[in-house]
């Protein structure tokens, strides 16, 4: 694994500053139960730049959520490091750094029906983080912060006194986003933020997340399985399968020149809303056992085209280079 290579895994076009906001280096996350252990994430490295939307795409069980949870320190990293603004935030860190991490990195979860306290008012839910970190000097200031966060996500001040059950799914996801915004974070981890929402509401939430990025220079780690959404939202995409990154590239590059057979099988599986295309398409199935021959040479992380990385051995790397000649 070449960490230096993935550190340059971006092309200047998309990068707002050269300093990565978040760096994940050779991350491994292992879950233990009794004598058995299971590595959910193995040797994962990537950078998220300031102002960038970086997407992690993979199926359930691929470890994409585990990576998100490890960044905000819910799961401990077994190996490797995570740096935020150049400061190490994985492993043992002091209390001050810990609260700095919580204030600056916030997470939006998948299911807005399950992630709000049903017995608390919206006012309390949104200000819980403010209470925890004493981020206000007066009651007025706290109220003002809550109102501002609600307005930012398109809700009304009067909503503060209500309870979660009075809101629709799309509105609840906005409350989750308001609760994140009130902390004024730099970096948001959005774990499948729209997959539990209705089609007509998805567009509202996606637009909101995009506007916030443009207006405040927020950066996102967008965790998803839906490639059509990711294509619209993300600047760069990393494809993860069984705990390993398989491919990483700019969004258009990945869709135009997919290299890894797993990426290609994912792209072929996405149902497109176009009957003529859909009814004539060929499904590609990824079968690692027959598709990779690693008896001669183990795979490593390589840059095939500028900024386009893939996990491959020598022979595969050559084939990939030929593929789009």
């Amino acid at each position: 694994m070449n960490a230096a290579a993935s550190a340059s895994a971006h092309t200047p076009a998309d990068v707002h500053t050269n300093e990565p906001l978040l760096s994940v280096r050779n991350l491994e996350v292992t879950f233990k139960k009794g004598n058995t252990s299971f590595s959910a994430v193995r040797d994962v490295s990537f950078d998220v730049m300031q102002g960038e939307s970086f997407a992690l795409v993979g199926e359930s069980g691929s470890g994409k959520t585990t990576i998100g949870r490890t960044i905000i320190r819910i799961n401990p990293a077994s190996k490797g490091e995570i740096y935020f603004k150049g400061k190490r935030i994985s492993g043992i860190i002091d209390k001050e750094t810990d609260s700095w991490v919580i204030r600056n990195i916030q997470m939006i979860f998948q299911d807005p029906m399950a992630s709000l306290n049903e017995r608390a008012t919206i006012d309390y839910i949104v200000s819980e983080g403010l209470y925890n970190f004493n981020l206000f000097s007066s009651e007025e200031e706290r109220r003002e912060k809550v109102f501002r966060a609600l307005r930012d996500v398109g809700l009304l001040e009067e909503h503060a006194e209500r309870y979660p059950h009075e809101f629709s799914g799309g509105q609840r996801q906005r409350i989750c986003i308001a609760r994140v915004l009130v902390m004024e974070p730099n970096f948001i981890i959005a774990d499948e933020p729209i997959s539990a929402l209705d089609v007509s509401i998805r567009a509202q939430v996606l637009n909101l997340l995009k506007d916030l990025k443009r207006e405040r220079g927020l950066s996102y780690l967008f965790i998803a399985h839906d490639l059509t959404v990711v294509r619209y939202f993300a600047d760069r995409i990393a494809v993860i399968h069984q705990g390993e990154l398989k491919e990483l590239a700019q969004t258009d590059e990945l869709f135009n020149r997919p290299l890894h057979p797993y990426t290609r099988s994912l792209l072929s599986a996405v149902p497109l809303p176009d009957p003529d295309l859909e009814k004539n398409k060929k499904l590609l199935v990824y079968d690692p056992a027959t598709m990779h021959d690693y008896s001669k040479g183990l795979p490593s992380w390589r840059e095939i085209f500028p900024g386009h990385f893939v996990l491959a051995n020598d022979k595969e790397a050559e084939e990939y280079q030929e593929m789009y000649r």
Partner: protein, 368 residues
């Protein structure tokens, strides 16, 4: 004229105008906290034998409730207020007790639900869950039921069916569980298979496999399929015909190509416009403003009017009738009235229209 797979829908409908199920002027009401809610408002729908019909709409539009009336599975506070459902010459609205329903539900009309974990019993072995259906409906001895169950498991793609027969649901992956649910639904060789969001809980790669499986089984067993989904990608993949639902009504229906390449109802336009696939990256996605109307009170005019930027004055006053666009395509919007002003559909719809035209042209050239 159209891209040819075995038979086009139009041809199939022309050739075999065999209606397997027909709902007429159906009204379904629910009693909720002493108030009455009208979930289905005068729906008429014909289902043709052997076709795949997809019903699309947002949550609360009534798509699940509609199909639940076909199997007598309405919640206890719900009832069919008026209208009729005729299946194989039998009036289903007259069936009252579970005993009466037994000959239909699970035997002739089966349902595959969204979440395979909740539709299987976690405490029972997989094999028993399949055989009990066969024993009950076909009155076969256990040994023979087991034989059928094993062959069904192989049919739906379970390898080593014999060994996996005694496994519990938790030992199966999500995709495998959904395969078992499909096996159970097919155990009695139903005439109609209702798939209620069958792949929403599954990964895309697994989803594609399950859709393929249902399609192959349909060809083999010759049943009719109703898909309920909100995913227009899935609809494009599976459907012959599409019905779009809004606020308890069907607002547009037609062949899958008519609905995607030449939709007429502003709600269908809005659904297609909000898809990220057709959007340009630097422009915001089209979001349908507002929320669906409450079904507790009577709806005046077109239910979509308050959210519809194409709404005419009459939309707020009088409910539009169905206008015929083609022999198979109907839409319930005043925009199709000869007196209505010309409405310019959104860009996404124009893009789709162009694509459809190009494809039709290509295939007709190829045929010449």
């Amino acid at each position: 004229m159209l891209p040819t797979r075995a038979l086009t829908v139009e041809e199939r409908i022309m050739d075999t105008p065999n209606i397997i199920l027909s709902a007429k002027d159906l009204v379904v009401k629910f009693r909720v906290r002493n108030k009455e809610l009208t979930a289905i408002r005068h729906i008429s729908l014909d289902l043709f034998e052997g076709e795949t019909l997809a019903i699309v709409g947002e949550s609360g539009s009534g798509k699940t409730v509609l199909t639940k009336t076909f199997t007598g599975m309405l919640e206890s506070n719900g009832r069919i207020d008026s209208g009729s459902i005729v299946f194989e010459g039998q009036e289903l609205t007259k069936l009252k007790t579970d005993k009466q329903w037994e000959a239909i539900r699970g035997a002739k009309i089966s349902t595959v639900f969204q979440d395979p974990m909740t539709s299987l019993n976690p405490l029972k072995r997989i094999g028993i869950q399949i055989t009990e259906v066969i024993e009950k409906h076909q009155k076969l001895p256990p040994a023979e039921a087991k034989k059928i169950a094993l062959s069904l498991m192989e049919r739906v793609g379970i390898k080593n069916a014999e060994q996996r027969f005694t496994d519990y649901p938790f030992q199966y992956s999500g995709g495998m569980r959904q395969r078992i649910v499909i096996a159970i639904a097919l155990a009695c060789k139903p005439r109609i298979l209702i798939c209620d969001e069958p792949t929403t809980a599954l990964d895309v790669t697994i989803q594609a496999q399950i859709l393929d499986l249902i399609r192959n089984l349909q060809r083999e067993y010759g049943f009719t399929t109703i898909y309920i989904t909100h995913d227009l990608g899935v609809v494009a993949n599976v459907a012959d015909r599409v019905a779009v639902m809004y606020a308890g009504q069907i607002v547009e229906y037609g062949t899958v190509r008519e609905i995607f390449y030449d939709p007429k109802h502003p709600y269908t336009w809005a659904l297609i416009s909000s898809l990220p696939t057709l959007a340009e990256k630097d422009k915001p996605l089209y979001a349908i403003p507002g929320t669906p109307p409450t079904l507790f009170s009577d709806i005046k005019g077109d239910a979509f009017a308050p959210r519809n930027r194409y709404a005419l004055k009459i939309d707020f006053e009088e409910e539009p009738p169905f206008y015929q666009v083609s022999p198979t395509h109907f839409a319930k919007t005043w925009l199709l009235d000869p007196r209505a002003p010309q409405a310019e559909p959104p860009d996404a719809v124009k893009i789709m229209r162009e694509r459809g035209r190009k494809n039709t042209k290509q295939t007709s050239e190829a045929q010449q």
